[in-house]
Amino acid sequence: MSATQLALTLLFTPLVSAALIGVFFRRQPAIAKAISLTAAVAIAALASLLIFRTEDFTVTAEWLTIGPLTIKLGFLLDPLSKLLLAVVALVGLLVHVFSLGYMSHEENQARFFGCLSLFMFSMTGLTLADDLIMLFIFWELVGLSSFLLINFYFEKPAAVAASKKAFIVNRIGDFGFLIGIILAYWTFGSITLADIAVKIGADPSVIATSIGLLIFCGAVGKSGQLPLHVWLPDAMEGPTPVSALIHAATMVAAGIFLLCRVSVLMSADALNIILWIGTGTALFAGFVALGQRDLKRILAYSTISQLGFMVAAFALGSLVALQSGASVSLAGLTGGVAAAMFHLTTHAFFKALLFLGSGSILHGTHHEGDIYRLGGLAKKMPLTFATFTIGTLALIGCPFLAGFYSKDAILILAYQYSQPVFFCLLLGAFLTAFYMTRLWTTAFLGKARSEGAEHAHEGGPLLVVPLAVLAVGSLFAGYAWFYPEALRDVPEAALHLLHGEGHSAAMIGGTAAFVVGSALGFLLYRPGSATDFLQTRLPVVYQVLEKRLYIDAAYDWYVAKVQQRLALVLNYVDRIGIAGIGVRGIMGGGSGMISLAARALHTGSLHTYVYWFLGGVVLLWAIVTGVL
């Protein structure tokens, strides 16, 4: 099988699975599960063949030509897509296995697994895309799969609202993305990434800040950056395995992947703006996480914050590369791309682990998600506790675990480029340790504070095995030896950064953030406490954080009070103004003839219409012959 055929088979396997389930097995959950799981295994196998047995390649085919517009679609397999493909295939498979156990008591399992397959199709296509349009097509399709899975519980109004919000907010980002693509086409004469890179390589002056920023809009939407982050916490209404796969490990990371893909067309100005949006998001979400009580929502804000780190990493590394005058090429891994993709990879392991761990908790406590109603889970769910602890330590940057190294690379880049950003990101790292310690002590230590937590129990092996696999990744994904040869480019490039200028400052700062953050968390959030420290001591601050700095409220206000009212006013104007006074006025007052005709036609009689028609024909005849 040629590489192209292999890629096509990989791409269409999950689509076939989704179609089979959708068309034939909607009412046979057992068969649907089997098909979907088989597809996930096949994806893993085919992806391995692509990763380990296939040279990097690119292939394009002309898809649509109209006038001067030529759209070519195709595949691009390189270290970046190989790494993301590995993450998608591995986490996807683990989530499938976990879901077999987690969803076993649910209705509509066939729909769940069908949508999961649809997501795998979309995400694979996104990963392998070689051009902006193919990226955009699958970008929209992952959005669709995400919509379908968030509103899996579609009787719940909150789930319906959340899915709608996710789709529309993403669409706002895509609005910018699409303008960016259009500009890119007219600027570079192609939407194929390789062509764009060649064009820029030949003449760097064609780079325009606007294009980079507009394409970044897409990433802002999908990767939950300020101010379009509002959909991601709400998306936790979806089943927890979905939160792990889509809203933590893969889809939300697609924005980072997109940035890395288009890194060649970023100007320094664009990168500076991207840098501050990423840094701001990392800080903002870290603070807001302190004001949340729901297990999954805290993790969602944590994801937003970590995505902010990745965005900042990309911008920092690219800026450092620009300063040192590195040459532009699609294949070259700049420090920014390496650091961002490396953090994406380690984050995929520990965040998927944390989400699946919280799924295990929800499963064991009959959906008790409020951390202040949990407690004492360490004894009742030892395996979940152990793996969750590993995930937490990896996330908060405990030395020698995965997150420590990937965060360190980012901090070093920040140190090299800008002191303010360096300190902001240190604060972000401190907040990460602080809010995760709060979550960990409150949920796992002390005594059970609710019926659900009292009767907590481990799920079966289907739930535990994926946790164990991800825990291994969270422990060791920070080391280059952990990765197979074919995937080692990115981690090695990122780890290479650790020897750069400022490495000791970053290492000391990062370790200090971890130590101080978790120690302070231990001191302030006492195990077993049923109340929140901030809430009792600083209620005003807590409320602001709980209300997420009122950003969501501002959106709600805009939608209800501005947008909907504008729509209603325009509707009124349209009905009364244009249709009523305008048209009837002109017709009635201006021309008696037409109003007469109107009344005549009002009869609805067949003859009238036919006479009108004949009259028209005769009129035509008269005019034409008159001229002749």
């Binding site: 109209i66 517009l69 669709l144 709608k164 349209d574 249709a579 009002h602 035509l620």
Partner: protein, 509 residues
């Protein structure tokens, strides 16, 4: 394949012959079979002409399947029944056949009173539609449109729903006015060209040789833009449309909003812009601004609708703004986008109207506040409706063809008008908002009190097969051409290359 008959003439005559046959007092089963055949033939021929288009293409004229029938008016008036397809009309001819078949199949299962008469008029409409896109002669192009239009008026007036007589009257006045203005425009071209022929090929040739005076072009394009604009519900001449679609029986809404309305956009792309380069250049900025009125203002109005059918109507009217925007770019890129967009819009809008009526049959109302939770009872209907909504908002996947059309139009808009593309793209967000809101209100959440009450006395079933088949026909056609648009875009691009550079040169002259 060389056909042993003229496929275009057969596609026009078959539905009309079926309509004539229905006059005979036949048992209902036979009536339905004849009607089904009458709808099937144009669709099959649509696919056949698409498949064999390249092999039958005549390089000299740029048309395939060309035949001229003398009507006895050629010498006196320069009118003859000249049929043929080029790259612009072939996709439209195909789409028209497919939507016609879907609308016909859907009509067969309705419980309309005087079904025989209803089917007959629908067949007349279908014959007219096939004629519109098969005509090379402008007179017959116009004539077939009127033919279909009169059937439309009658059906809205006789079988319409709420406010049908007012809607029918409103529609008739507007559309008659629009048709008259565009007729004046066509006649002006005819007179001023000196070609003494309504034949588009002759006119094109003649005008390329002689050129038209700037004044004549301005008048003619103005008449055509306003006249055809009214027919396609260009802002602010759109008010007949949501009202009319709200009242019209579903098959009529499908055929009118999906196909017949495209007469105007098609006329602009195929005839007005290439023949009147100077006139269209003068009017294009105004047209672009009015198109933005469709996209932004009517998009917001669609958001305010509580009535599902009105919302679909406004949504359809909103989206034709993209078509006008593409026309206003005056080049092959914009025009190509418009043709792809028209095919996609025709298929997706007719699908939406079809499913909207199916929803109505289950909820007993169009008021979205009185629905909710329908997905539990009708999951297939929900899946189809979601597909239709996503297609109409141009989401790649179900709406890949819509996406290609819109993307091409946006590309052309940026090239021609620069940043005007930004407000135009707002439609991408606006349509997602009203589309998903409708999805949520109708299908998701808990059933409303009114819907629960309705369920007490009515059994709510999922989509039946006689509703699924027409819907599937539309979905599969839409997705198929979306995934593989080249079979439409290659002939289209070839024709555009022949028709549009000439006009570009003329502008410079």
């Amino acid at each position: 394949m060389i056909f042993p008959f003229d496929p275009l003439l057969l596609a026009i005559v078959a539905p009309l012959a079926a309509a004539l046959l229905l006059i005979a007092p036949l048992p209902e089963r036979v009536v339905k079979a004849i009607a089904a055949l009458g709808f099937l033939v144009p669709a099959v021929l649509g696919f056949l002409t698409w498949w064999h288009y390249g092999a039958n293409l005549d390089a000299g004229t740029g048309y395939a399947f060309r035949t001229v029938y003398d009507t006895g008016l050629r010498d006196a008036l320069g009118i003859s029944l000249h049929l043929g397809l080029n790259g612009i009309s072939m996709p439209m001819f195909l789409m028209s056949g497919v939507v016609g078949l879907a609308a016909g199949l859907y009509a067969l299962q309705t419980k309309a009173e005087r079904l025989r008469f209803y089917l007959g008029l629908l067949l007349v409409m279908q014959g007219g539609l096939m004629g519109v896109f098969a005509s090379v002669d402008i007179f017959f192009f116009y004539f077939f449109h009127e033919f279909a239009l009169i059937a439309t008026f009658l059906m809205v007036g006789l079988w319409g729903g709420k406010d049908r007589s007012y809607a029918a009257m409103n529609m008739t006045i507007y559309l008659t006015l629009g048709a008259m203005l565009s007729l004046l425009g066509f006649i002006l071209i005819y007179i001023k060209s000196g070609a003494e022929s309504f034949d588009l090929i002759v006119l094109r040739h003649e005008i390329a040789q002689q050129g038209l005076s700037g004044v004549a072009q301005n008048y003619a394009f103005g008449l055509l833009m306003i006249g055809l604009g009214i027919l396609v519900s260009l802002f602010p001449f759109h008010t007949w449309a949501p009202l009319g679609y709200g009242a019209a029986p579903s098959s009529v809404s499908m055929l009118h909003a999906g196909v017949l309305k495209k007469f105007g956009l098609y006329g602009l792309v195929q005839i007005a812009v290439p023949l009147l380069p100077a006139g269209s250049a003068a009017w294009a900025p105004a047209l672009a601004w009015l198109a933005l009125g469709n996209i932004v203002i009517l998009g917001l109005v669609a958001m305010a609708q509580r009535d599902l059918k009105q919302m679909v109507g406004y949504g359809s009217v909103m989206h034709v703004g993209y078509g006008f925007l593409g026309v206003a770019c005056l080049n092959a890129l914009g025009a190509g986008g418009v043709v792809l967009f028209m095919v996609a819009h025709g298929l997706s809008v007719s699908l939406l109207f079809l499913l909207t009526t199916s929803i109505y049959h289950r909820t007993g109302t169009f008021d979205m506040d009185d629905m909710g939770g329908l997905v539990k009872k009708a999951p297939v209907l929900a899946a189809f409706f979601l597909t239709a909504i996503l297609a109409s908002i141009g989401l790649p996947g179900p709406g890949l063809l819509n996406f290609w059309g819109e993307l091409t139009i946006f590309m052309a808009t940026y090239e021609h008008f620069g940043w005007l593309v930004v407000p135009a793209l707002l439609g991408v967000v606006i349509s997602a908002i009203y589309g998903l809101r409708a999805m949520g209100k109708v299908f998701y959440g808990q059933p409303s009190a009114a819907f629960l009450k309705h369920q007490e006395s009515n059994v709510v079933t999922d989509l039946r097969w006689n509703e699924r088949i027409p819907a599937l026909l539309l979905i599969l056609t839409l997705v198929g051409f979306g995934v593989w648009p080249r079979t439409l875009s290659e002939p289209l691009n070839k024709t555009l290359g022949e028709v549009y550079p000439a006009s570009a040169a003329a502008v410079q002259k």
